[in-house]
């Protein structure tokens, strides 16, 4: 049974359809990633899943509980780390965790013990009684996550949990996510970082302009993503594009003025091949550029595939 079930979810803000007929399910124990560029509708979706926004239409079920009918009971089961969310800077790290625990009715004695454990785990023990005001961004985010898991939630929602943090904080947070997951917590996270989705997630849903373009394992999505890498090249003499296509090293060839844009999943190999190609035909390069994979291109590609299929 799906622990998160979303059916035909829709939300519009005036003229913008932020989330457009989105349906999916997340299995118990899964790490599910929601990947999409800025403005794709990730935050809007997570806000509807966590009961902060009411959908215009469609339903959300958390562990079988209808979010519309029993939001408080559903919220007891979840921990939420909002994108812009912040802990109270006028409280200490420990006070923040304890405040959070009180909302879930954890007794004072137990809460004290849990808070100390969490502070240890998040490497905040030494700063437990310092005001969060004086913390770095990464430390604030750690307090934020510690406060959100104080009641050992069944589901943890994280909206871009690592964006804007240094590598060390990022790693710590990823470790905690994996650890939580190993002890049975279902994780729903959003990101616009494909690498992060790849490392963490069992399944990834790709959202673009409010619509789900694909839901798949990260490996398969990564392949689609890699195919959007390209080499842009121009020679001093006109050439026949089909010659390059025959090499089987490119997935697609586009001519843009005197430039060729060659899509490939392995730009390094292609460049080496092109060097030989030019040598054999006595061509000179006038320009060459390797263009990295673009998330935007990958989304477009996946969206196209889906639209063609339907």
């Amino acid at each position: 049974m799906c622990i998160i079930r979303v059916e035909r979810l829709q939300k519009r803000f005036k003229s913008i359809v932020a989330v457009d007929n989105v349906s999916f399910g997340v299995e118990k124990g899964e790490i599910f990633g929601f990947l999409g560029p800025n403005g794709a509708g990730k935050t809007t979706t997570i806000r509807m899943l966590t009961g902060l926004l009411t959908p215009d239409s469609g339903d959300v079920f958390i562990d079988g509980i209808d979010m519309r009918q029993s939001p408080i009971i559903a919220k007891m089961k979840m921990g939420v780390i909002p994108e812009m969310g912040n802990v109270y800077v006028d409280l200490t790290a420990k006070q923040n965790i304890i405040l959070s625990g009180k909302f879930y009715g954890i007794s004072r004695g137990e809460l004290d013990r849990i808070a100390d454990d969490l502070l240890d785990r998040f490497e905040l023990s030494e700063r437990r009684d310092d005001l969060v005001k004086n913390f770095s961004k990464g430390m604030k985010q750690r307090v934020n996550i510690a406060s959100a898991i104080v009641h050992s939630p069944e589901i943890l929602f994280l909206d871009e949990p690592t964006s804007g943090l240094d590598v060390q904080s990022q790693r710590l947070i990823k470790d905690i996510i994996k650890e939580m997951n190993q002890t049975g917590t279902t994780i729903f996270l959003t990101t616009h970082n494909i690498e992060e989705a790849n490392i963490l997630c069992d399944r990834v849903g790709i959202i673009n302009r409010g619509k789900i373009a694909a839901i798949d394992t990260p490996e398969r999505l990564k392949r689609a993503f890699e195919e959007t890498q390209s080499v842009e090249i121009s020679f001093d003499k006109p050439i026949d594009g089909s010659l390059i296509e025959e090499s089987k090293m490119v997935s697609r060839v586009e001519k843009r003025g005197d430039k060729w844009k060659l899509y490939t999943d392995n730009p390094d190999k292609l460049v080496k091949y092109l060097a030989e190609f030019a040598q054999d035909r006595d061509l000179a390069f006038t320009s060459m550029e390797i263009c990295g994979a673009s998330l935007e291109d990958a989304f477009m590609k996946l969206t196209e595939v889906r639209e063609r299929a339907s």
């Binding site: 806000r47 966590t50 009961g51 902060l52 926004l53 029993s70 939001p71 408080i72 009971i73 919220k75 007891m76 979840m78 939420v80 909002p82 812009m84 969310g85 912040n86 802990v87 109270y88 800077v89 006028d90 409280l91 006070q95 405040l99 959070s100 009180k102 909302f103 879930y104 009715g105 934020n144 406060s147």
Partner: protein
């Protein structure tokens, strides 16, 4: 989960929100300035200008303090939390908008009552009354609820900066003081001035306090309590509607 559990979760939520507000907001400068210093200066300005019979003025002074302090907490909290980014977190706890409104209101009530006790104790050292304790307590509680909910209602518009709400709340709170029976007793007012006093909830509390201290009431103690209750309900329902509408605005 049964309804009973939900109710206890609701009450717990209100208590935790109240506790959080007390911990964080009681020491914020705007509360000290708009809640404590303003009524003090207003009183001094008024007092120094005239020969005043303190014995008669004291109940009105008490009402003014309760009004200013209880209504100064609410306008601060939500705008502040929206700006600091804590509001969205707060909403993700197992609470709803009513939990937050009542918790904010309770924080204003408690602050108002606390300071009022201090002012009352100071007054009773110098002045001698034959107090009607029951009406004094009931009036203080209901007045505190009414004024603190007004404060929460004033916090509902979504603004780019919390100081806008501070301005708005002053713009509304001062006229309510001036049209109430605090500075000019209601019995000395006639015509339009008198009618206006009936629009200020403070008028009714002044009447309750007058009655509690001097056994003299110019309206009717039953009407006073009923009207304050109606005002409170209007403020709480209004706060619920507007806060809900502006829930995700200004995050």
């Amino acid at each position: 989960m049964q309804a009973e559990n939900l109710n206890s979760q609701f009450l717990r939520g209100i208590m935790v929100v109240t506790e959080k507000n007390i911990q964080i907001y009681y020491t914020k400068p705007p509360i000290i300035i708009f809640g404590l210093l303003f009524p003090l200066f207003m009183f001094l300005a008024f007092y120094l200008g005239k020969e005043l019979d303190f014995q008669i003025f004291f109940p009105r002074l008490l009402a003014m303090f309760l009004f200013f302090i209880a209504s100064s907490v609410g306008p601060l909290i939500t705008p502040w939390e929206k700006q600091a980014g804590t509001y969205e977190r707060l909403l993700s706890f197992p609470v709803n908008i009513n939990t937050i409104i009542l918790g904010d209101s309770a924080a204003g009530m408690i602050f108002g009552i606390m300071i009022n006790l201090v002012v009352l104790a100071a007054g009773l050292i110098f002045l001698n009354y034959n107090l009607n304790i029951l009406f004094l307590i009931a009036g203080t509680l209901l007045g505190a609820l009414c004024f603190s909910s007004l404060g929460v209602l004033l916090a509902s518009p979504s603004v780019p900066n919390p100081s806008y709400i501070m301005m708005l709340s002053s713009l509304i709170r001062f006229p309510l003081i001036f049209i109430s029976g605090i500075f000019i007793p209601i019995e000395n007012l006639h015509g339009i001035g008198r009618i206006l006093t009936y629009f200020s909830p403070i008028t009714y509390l002044v009447d309750i306090f007058n009655y509690s201290f001097t056994s003299q009431s110019h309206i009717s103690i039953i009407i006073d309590f009923t009207t304050l209750l109606i005002f409170s309900l209007i403020f709480i329902c209004g706060a619920n509607k507007l806060h809900k509408r502006n829930l995700m605005k200004g995050l």
